[in-house]
Amino acid sequence: MPNLPPKKEIFVTGLWKDNPVLRQILGICSTLAVTNLMVNTLVMDLGLIFTVCMSSLTVSLLRKVTPVRIRMMVQTLIIASYVIIVDIMIKAYLPDISEALGPYVALIITNCIIMGRCEAFARNNPPMASFIDGLGMSLGYSLVLIAIAFIREPLGFGTLLGFRVLPEGFVQWTVMIMAPGAFFTLGIMVWILKYFRPQTDEEKG
């Protein structure tokens, strides 16, 4: 086993240093899609956290027995199973949210962060470290989405979590409701981050 960084560092790497959205620019599709309402964002985040952690854990547990040539099939199968479980659970216990999110829950399967973590980390590392890596990465994703939703929902709807935060006469920025609004918000965030913390040569790759 190559020397593994301490768990705390693995966690912080995913959460901030190597943030999947801001640094790796992964999972953009869902970032654009769900962040115009905070409620949808939060449910999406929980679904993703569960799926990434459990998929990484499972892939890691099976890493020594899974034949290398079919590992991607196995990973897809594992990810899809967890996502369908999340979908069923939301339908059973949160029917209203399930209606609002519609097809997006099932689309968690195609979120590249999940398979990315399975391939890049979980298949070569022990279960606990993989779980923490998944947790860090998915929380990193969640934080960015919450930050974007925190800008988009008030500007687009004048509300936050459904409560009105801006005065009634506020002219809503329709562009913020639509996907381009997320593009602008995300772009500005990445820009600010790059300005204040340029990537070192070593990190570039």
């Binding site: 899609a33 769900v34 115009n36 309402l37 949808n40 099976l62 027995v65 899974t66 034949p67 040539r69 079919i70 099939m73 196995v74 199968l77 594992i78 199973s81 369908i84 479980i85 069923i88 659970m89 339908k91 059973a92 216990y93 029917p95 209606e99 609002a100 999110l101 519609g102 097809p103 997006y104 687009g156 709807f157 809503q172 329709t174 409701i177 639509m178």
Partner: protein, 212 residues
Amino acid sequence: MKKQVLSVIYMFLITLFFASLVSAVKLMNDKRIERNQTIKLQQIILRVLQIPTQEQITEEYLSRLFANRVKEIDVDDRTLYIGYKEDGQAIQGYALPVGGPGFWGPIQGMVGITPDATRVLGIAFTQHSETPGLGGRITESWFTEQFQNLPLFPIEGDKNIFYLKPVGTAQAANDLDAITGATNTSSAVEVFLNRELDYFLKELWGSIEGTK
């Protein structure tokens, strides 16, 4: 060769395991999901018929109220719901399931119509795959409440029952607010709902009158 056989067996076993896991979770929650859907449908029918419900509704209360006040009838391959007033005799209105293509996928809804078929009692959208926060806002109350008391008449020529106009430009009584940023969903709703209401007035209404 042996490696490939092993891979196939491994894939088979792991698929079997995960498929069973998913099936088990589905089976365990199937009843609950189905019940959620029934409750949802009953609530929507009662709502579009303007039959008031208690603040706190239990499942039992809902199914009893539904059984007392709503009757299902089949007219021309469609299932309609007749809502009765509290005395159980006089008709409160008809609930008509409507549907048509949305922007991303089919949209389904329910329209409540007065007993003389001249006005809309209420409307609700039950299923859609429109973008959450954009076209998905057709389910929000500010949108659906605009339809209450909308006058109904059979369409002749190109005069629609109602129009969806950009917010702030509505002039006539049957100009309703469209959803900002969801032009395609709004026009899809305008097209199929006008068609469905017209169909109700021209085809179904005669049959309902006939059964009385």
